[in-house]
């Protein structure tokens, strides 16, 4: 068989729109997922039941349900139980962010727990409160140690943006599907989508590796 990418190239506008949609969804999910994940992670770390219990419930729930089901639920079921419309972007962003938060929460907790007790004690010995010690002493060190785990989480988030195609959000896979169905060229269309993902992700991953190496050297 002959590979013919001309029909894909003819739809490059659609692919660019898809790429923009993918990156936008990724950015939203990365920021909100990792931020909310930190809040949940602190709750998981807390010994107070009032923080710990809801955080644990949240993590267990969202780790043990498929993201795809969550996206579909937010898109199709939520408007029925609650009186408002939800866009494909919001439904996908909610599902992916909450899932990302649940997974990153345990990365944060593990990172915070890995910091030696002596660091807490030294911070408290100069009069720092819990929040000050966490922000100035514990988190900066923990984040450094967590970078590899958070990086792979970020890559997972990037790839899971393709799930948004199930609610017809305009992202790369959705556009690939569209091109394939119009031109009957699934091989070329999906190959192109895969290559675009690789081309965006690979340099990002290399960059984070380089950052990690630089941080190691700085120590």
């Amino acid at each position: 068989m002959v590979w013919d990418f001309s029909s894909v190239l003819a739809n490059s506008d659609a692919l660019i729109a898809g790429a923009i949609g993918t990156v936008r969804l990724f950015a939203i999910c990365l920021v909100s997922g990792m931020t909310f994940g930190l809040v949940v992670g602190l709750g998981r770390y807390a010994r107070t039941r009032w923080f710990n219990w809801p955080a644990t419930l949240f993590v267990e729930f969202f780790r043990n349900t498929p993201v795809l089901v969550q996206i579909l639920w937010f898109y199709f079921a939520l408007p029925i139980v609650a009186p408002f419309e939800i866009s494909p972007l919001s439904a996908a962003a909610l599902g992916i962010s909450l899932n990302a938060a649940a997974f990153s929460a345990d990365i944060y907790r593990g990172g915070i727990q890995s910091i030696e007790r002596g660091q807490w004690e030294a911070a408290r010995a100069i009069g720092m409160g819990w929040g000050q010690a966490m922000r100035r002493i514990i988190l900066p060190q923990a984040l450094k140690r967590m970078t590899p785990a958070l990086t792979s989480r970020a890559i997972e988030i990037f790839k899971s943006t393709t799930l948004a195609s199930t609610v017809a959000y305009v992202e790369l896979l959705q556009q690939g599907k569209l091109i394939a169905s119009i031109n009957f060229n699934p091989i070329e269309a999906y190959t192109t989508v895969a290559v675009i993902f690789f081309v965006i992700l690979w340099p990002l991953v290399q960059l984070t590796y380089a950052l990690e190496r630089r941080m190691k050297r700085a120590e």
Binding site: G118, E121, A122, R124, A125, I126, G127, G129, I137, E219
Partner: protein
């Protein structure tokens, strides 16, 4: 002037009572060496004085004011009370516990910046002054990973001094050091003694205790077993346990 008054200080970990009602008065300018066998409660006593551990019972009074507030026959300690106390009672740890992500000056400035909210330039100037005092002026911008153990401990001392504490607690400040680095840290502590600072020092350096301390306390099984001047305790102890402890230590030179 008594700056610290401890009454009936008791600490339990679960069922294990580690301190059994310690009474202790510290007068400004006193330098108290605390000796005792491993597990006798030296660290726990020190840690209760700046509330790294919360006393199970008893009171700690700083400058005439009892720390914490009374409730239902016991005491409760609010974070706000404790952060205040800890700024006034500095602590130096056996393992230094420097912040590895900050330079030497950054470590010393941290309390001034974050707790005291001092402007950067002011905190930096103070940090340089304290580092110079411990002989590390030229290491201000060095990270802890590039400092020797002795230098780390001197930075840790500077970090405590920057908060202008009324009293300093040292928990075996030289025990984690290679023998050849012990001297530089002891020299710094001795210079603080000469300035008339109030300090409590847990140490196994008996010779140092003899020369620097104004009072020696021998702790055994969570209680003050014997106390007195360095001469009384280190040269002519009255109690058997104290004698046995001293006999078990390497001969020290006066």
């Amino acid at each position: 002037m008594t700056i610290l008054r401890v009454r009936g200080l008791t600490k339990r970990f679960g069922d294990n009572e580690v301190l059994h009602g310690i009474d202790l008065d510290v007068v400004a300018g006193e330098r108290i060496a605390i000796l005792g066998a491993s597990g006798s409660g030296k660290s726990t006593l020190l840690r209760c004085l700046n509330f790294m551990e919360l006393p199970t019972a008893g009171t700690v009074e700083l400058d005439g004011k009892t720390v914490g507030s009374e409730r239902g026959g016991g005491r409760i300690y609010r974070e706000r009370d404790l952060t205040g106390v800890r700024q006034r009672v500095g602590m130096v740890f056996q393992q230094f516990n420097l912040f590895p992500h900050m330079t030497a000056a950054g470590n010393v400035m941290e309390g001034l910046r974050t707790v005291r909210r001092q402007p950067k330039a002011e905190a930096r100037a103070r940090a340089e002054k304290e580092l110079a005092r411990v002989g590390l002026a030229e290491k201000a911008d060095t990270f802890p990973a590039h400092l020797s153990g002795g230098q780390k401990q001197r930075v840790a001392i500077a970090r405590a001094l920057a908060m202008d504490p009324e009293m300093l607690l040292f928990d075996e400040p030289t025990s984690a050091l290679d023998p050849e680095l012990v001297g530089e840290v002891l020299t710094v502590i001795r210079s603080l003694a000469e300035e008339g600072r109030t300090m409590l020092l847990v140490t196994h350096e008996l010779g140092f205790a003899y020369h620097v301390a104004t009072r020696v306390i021998f702790l055994a099984e969570g209680a003050i077993h014997e106390q007195g001047t360095p001469d009384e305790i280190l040269k002519s102890p009255k109690k058997d346990k104290t004698r046995a402890f001293l006999a078990g230590h390497r001969q020290f030179s006066f």
